[in-house]
């Protein structure tokens, strides 16, 4: 027999270890019905927690007073500088061990809090750079109309700043989804398991890595479309909705009608 017609045992093992379709097909139902929802819950929770912390921290970082900036600066530097795994363990294992149990013995809550805290540190810097990129004339115009500093920031400056950093935020959301897998370290009850946990259980049971490929495909199904959706949103916000009015040409000014004598005169 021609030896070349025999399948190479090494490549066979490689394909079997990573692409055992039977195992992948066997893992998918649990990934979809249980893991996907739990991963999304942890990631969405962490994103919301992160955004709330980040907005507050960004406003503090923008202060002219060093003692207001200091706590926000420490928070950002510490949680951007620590390995994610250390923060997850400190929050998920350390807090309950120290008797601080806002979520009881539920690892879900601690996972959301830990990943939210890390996300907030990164997002705070994203927000700060976005807000700082807004023309100072916007704040001046809002203040000149009588808006307080906080109202002017909330209604005029912050919405513009956040719109400018949507692509960077998409990157952060993707990171949050991926980091939700670290909840694995905290141990989860049946029904709470997210994508990585389920895949890892199958790997331990079968000594085969194919379930990890299945979980990886699920992560990619979340992360890649998310990036495109946010980029599309960013493009729409920049260019305006399709079918909107075309920009007015410079010489198309409608001649103004005379301003009435009642135009705000209280002389």
């Amino acid at each position: 027999m021609d030896p070349s017609s025999q399948p190479d045992p090494a490549s066979n093992a490689l394909v079997n270890t990573f692409f055992n379709w039977d195992l992948i097909a066997q893992t998918f139902p649990r990934l979809i019905t249980e893991g996907l929802l739990n991963t999304l819950t942890i990631a969405a929770g962490a994103i919301v927690v992160g955004i709330v912390i980040a907005l507050l921290a960004a406003l503090l970082l923008l202060s002219h007073r060093w003692w207001i900036r200091l706590p926000a600066r420490l928070y950002v530097d510490i949680f951007r500088g620590l390995p994610v795994i250390i923060t997850v363990m400190l929050v998920g294992v350390g807090l309950p061990a120290a008797g601080i149990r806002p979520f009881g013995t539920e690892p879900f809550g601690y996972a959301i809090l830990a990943i939210g805290i890390i996300s907030g540190a990164y997002t705070a810097e994203i927000f700060r750079s976005g807000i700082q990129s807004v023309d100072p004339g916007q704040l001046q115009a809002a203040r000149s109309l009588g808006l307080s500093y906080l109202k002017a920031m909330r209604l005029v400056v912050v919405p513009q700043g956040i719109r400018r950093v949507l692509p960077a935020m998409a990157g952060q959301f993707v990171k949050d989804i991926k980091e939700s897998s670290l909840v694995y370290l905290l141990g989860l009850a049946a029904g709470q398991r997210e994508l990585y946990f389920i895949a890892q259980e199958e790997v331990a049971r079968t000594y085969n890595s194919s379930p990890l490929i299945a979980a990886g495909l699920c992560y990619l199904c979340l992360t890649i479309p998310l990036t495109y959706v946010v980029n599309h949103l960013d493009k729409r916000l920049r260019e305006g909705p399709k079918g909107g009015n075309p920009p007015a040409v410079a010489d198309a000014d409608v001649p103004p009608t005379p301003v009435s004598a009642t135009a705000g005169v209280q002389a």
Binding site: D135, G137, Q138, Q140, A141, A142, R143, S144, L145, G146, L147, S148, K151, L155, V156, P159, Q160, R163, G240, G244, N245, P246, P247, A248, V249, A250, D251, A252, D253, V254, P255, P256, T257, P258, V259, S260, A261, T262, A263, G264, V265, Q266, A267
Partner: protein, 252 residues
């Protein structure tokens, strides 16, 4: 800044006394005393860097003066406990670069402060916004975004936005300087109409034609000082201040 207990004897719409302002060691305004009388149009002219825009921004405290007093009617804006936000709502301001809010429709640009500062309901604010936009010829553009308008249209929206607050005084900070020449006339027309309607206005401008025709008084500033203040006739025809003569010979 010291808080006076009594308003000055002669009421003016806006009164400034002894106003000074420095950035570090650079003095921008030196002991300025000036008033804007009710119903008058006061034009501030002068070379670049003479301090006229800074003076205008001090009038509604967008810049904080180092010393001196600013009175809006009977209210001392520089008093320690002055409600600056409430005072600003009584003073309209139009900026060189329009500073419209790009993420809002033209109409929302005008209604924002009506709802957020004056507490009007959205429908009432909308009606007022549409009236003001109609006065500057832009009611049909209420649903557009500022970026969809030409520079002249944007500046007229900015004027409508300020007027909607029914201010006692309007401040114009080089309102036509950023516009293409063919768009300047429509904005100046709106400003002329306002002046002849009796609005109290302080106008920083390089448009000498406007200052000559529309102003009741013209103030000439140089090196952070108020060098000359008089009627347009006297400023433009019988200028005796050497720096004013030099300035006019360059711009006219």
């Amino acid at each position: 800044m010291t808080a006076m207990t009594k308003a000055p004897a002669t009421p003016a719409a806006l009164r400034v006394t002894g106003l000074s302002k420095s950035y570090g060691s650079h003095t921008v305004l030196r002991d300025i005393t000036i008033d804007v009388r009710a119903g008058e149009t006061l034009c501030l002219i002068g070379p670049s860097g003479s301090g006229k825009s800074t003076l205008l921004k001090c009038l509604n405290l967008l810049e904080t003066p180092d010393s001196g007093e600013i009175w809006l009617g009977e209210t001392c804006l520089t008093a320690a406990r002055a409600d600056v936000d409430a005072a600003r709502a009584r003073i309209g301001m139009v900026f060189q670069h329009f500073n419209l809010f790009p993420h809002m429709s033209v109409e929302r640009n005008v209604t924002l402060a009506l709802t957020a500062v004056k507490g009007m309901d959205r429908e009432q604010a909308r009606q007022r916004a549409l009236r003001r936009l109609a006065e500057v010829g832009l009611a049909a553009f209420a649903d557009r975004r500022p970026a969809q308008l030409s520079g002249g249209q944007q500046q007229r929206v900015a004027i409508a936005r300020a007027l909607a607050m029914e201010p006692e005084v309007m401040l114009f900070d080089e309102a036509t300087s950023a516009l293409d020449p063919e768009l300047v006339k429509d904005v100046l027309a709106v400003m002329r109409d306002l002046a002849s309607a009796g609005m109290t206005m302080a106008v920083v401008t390089h448009e000498m034609g406007f200052a000559r025709e529309a102003a009741d008084r013209v103030a000439f500033m140089c090196d952070g000082r108020l060098a000359e203040i008089d009627t347009p006739d006297r400023i433009f025809e019988r200028a005796d201040h050497p720096r004013l003569r030099q300035f006019l010979s360059q711009v006219l």
